[in-house]
């Protein structure tokens, strides 16, 4: 295991210490490093809370900041945070307008967020929940509720964050997040595994010339394992799957996120995007917003994912709004 770390069991907390030292815009609450919140909560604004396992930076805490989220409960590597930690974050970000939970579709997270929501309601905090489930590889059409949440959750954060910053009420912010959720689809491809620090070795293997289309960000099995194909063919395989569920044509507009899983160089993401752009061009649809880089990783896993959000007149300005967090900045133009 080639990692920069001290004791594996301190991986998450030392990472958090580094983050707090680097970024005074964020702070901890409840005297718990893992209860990560904005240092500048805005009175009267709907608070948005996320959370989940560590090992996915900038997910999840990276999106806490201006025009996006207000807090994140941080779990161990690939582990859910506790309901208690989620509750503490909830209480901190509650500014009189209620709290929206946005997180990924994983059992441990659901259990703990539900629990925290129940406890928060008992303290008279209104809570709504929207669960990201954008990974089309993880279940067939008709079983979308079983799909995993992966990088596409970024669009939910972006849209809901901008809505909350416009001081929309809780139900509206939740409606926006839900709309972004329903219109986001992601396909991923993995080229190599990653190593959980406390485990010390890869949890699975991918052959030297193989790729796995649809593999989950914790190494959950995908839909096909085959010889690594040329970049254009890989993109085509991924987009064909998305286009089979959602067709895009003239007059349609989308936002696209090409996400690196960790070790894949930015150069390659642009080679992938080149083909993505060609495909939408061929379809006659407009790519209005593009983000490329690492938005949801699995530490040193090599691979990438492509997320597509169908835009409408309501979502488009929210997606395009400025945002400023320690890990993600966007300047509206």
């Amino acid at each position: 295991m080639k990692k920069f770390l001290n004791r594996p069991e301190d991986f998450v907390d030392e990472m958090l210490e580094g983050i707090y030292r680097a970024h005074p815009q964020v702070t901890k609450t409840a005297d718990d490093l893992r209860c990560y919140v904005t240092a500048h909560p805005r009175p009267g604004k709907v608070g948005i809370v996320t959370g989940g396992g560590s090992g996915h930076l900038p997910l999840f805490l990276g999106y806490v900041g201006e025009n996006m989220l207000d807090g994140a409960a941080v779990g161990g590597v690939f582990q859910s945070p506790s309901s208690d930690q989620i509750l503490e974050v909830t209480k901190y970000v509650e500014q009189g307008a209620g709290v929206l939970y946005i997180y990924g579709n994983y059992t441990g997270d659901i259990m703990n967020f539900d629990m925290a929501g129940e406890l928060a309601e008992m303290e008279d905090i209104a809570v709504r929940t929207v669960i990201g489930n954008d990974d089309v590889a993880s279940s067939i059409v008709g079983e979308e509720h079983k799909r995993r949440g992966v990088a596409g959750i970024f669009f939910l954060y972006k849209a809901a964050g901008a809505a909350a910053a416009q001081m929309m009420p809780l139900d509206e912010v939740a409606r926006i997040a839900e709309k972004a959720r329903a219109n986001t689809r992601t396909m991923g491809v993995a080229l190599s595994p990653c190593i959980v620090p406390e485990v010390g070795k890869p949890g699975f293997e991918i052959g030297a010339d193989e790729m796995e289309i649809g593999m989950g960000i914790h190494g959950e099995p995908g839909i096909s394992r085959s010889k690594l194909a040329p970049a254009d063919a890989v993109v085509d395989q991924m987009l064909d799957r998305i286009f089979a569920e959602e067709s895009f044509g003239a007059g349609d507009a989308v936002a696209v996120l090409v996400n690196g899983l960790g070790a894949t160089p930015l150069e390659e993401l642009y080679i992938l995007f080149r083909r993505v752009s060609q495909r939408f061009e061929e379809a006659g649809a407009a790519v209005r917003n593009v983000w490329l880089g690492e938005f949801a990783t699995s530490m040193e896993m090599a691979g990438a994912s492509i997320s597509v959000l169908r835009l409408d007149a309501e979502l488009e300005p929210l997606i395009a709004a400025s945002a400023d967090t320690p890990f993600f900045k966007h300047v509206a133009r």
């Binding site: 506790s82 309901s83 208690d84 930690q85 509750l87 059992t107 441990g108 659901i110 259990m111 703990n112 539900d114 629990m115 129940e118 406890l119 008992m122």
Partner: protein
């Protein structure tokens, strides 16, 4: 012989899980991470303290504070599930002045349903549900029959013991034990064992109350 003040119940629960601490650690250790004894002891100690700090209050309020305290003190799977159980059970008896057999039946039905919803496990998945379900069913039947709380709970304990015994034949589908698959066969489920301890403590508390 219905109970109004649940403080003696929570005293007894805390004591019971403290006594069974090492047993649960050993059991969870066989196909899990050995934390169950620790988290249950911590969680129910916190519940006792929360309920005693609350002072005089309705049974529902007492159960609710207990549930929140368990979830907070024990952020493990079973801690979260037990916390959920008490919170949901509390809602089911919200208006009750005291707890008799009907309230126990309503409480455990909501307890079981809450855990089923939260954990998304099915009966037969070798979880705490496989012990909670017979408890709730037994109490429902006794309530329909008009049995008094103490004998009703005695039947519930029997049903729990039975249910736990049957988990030996099952293969774990959830949590850390699921990774052990066939190795889990033959062993009683650790969470189910905690549910049996729960039922026994309820029985003892109502027996003591007379």
């Amino acid at each position: 012989m219905s109970l109004h003040d649940l403080r003696p119940l929570f005293e007894r629960l805390a004591r019971a899980f403290e006594e069974k601490r090492d047993e649960l650690i050993a059991l969870d250790g066989k196909v899990g991470d050995s934390d169950l004894g620790i988290t249950m002891a911590k969680g129910f100690a916190a519940a006792r303290d929360a309920v005693s700090a609350l002072g005089a209050a309705s049974p529902a309020a007492q159960a609710k504070h207990a549930g929140a305290a368990i979830a907070k003190a024990a952020p493990s799977t079973m801690g979260t599930l037990m916390g959920t159980g008490f919170l949901r059970g509390s809602k089911a008896i919200e208006t009750a002045e005291s707890v008799g057999t009907a309230e126990l039946a309503a409480f455990f039905a909501a307890f079981r349903d809450g855990i089923a919803q939260r954990g998304r496990a099915k009966l037969g998945d070798k979880t705490v549900l496989d012990v909670l379900d017979p408890i709730a069913a037994a109490l429902e039947a006794e309530a329909a029959r008009g049995t008094a709380p103490e004998p009703a709970l005695a039947h519930a304990v029997e049903a729990a013991r039975d249910g736990l015994e049957k988990t030996r034949d099952l293969v774990a589908q959830h949590g850390k034990a699921a990774a052990f698959q066939e190795k889990s066969r033959g062993l009683p489920d650790a969470g189910g064992t905690a549910a049996l301890i729960l039922a026994e403590a309820f029985h003892a508390a109502f027996a003591e109350a007379g």
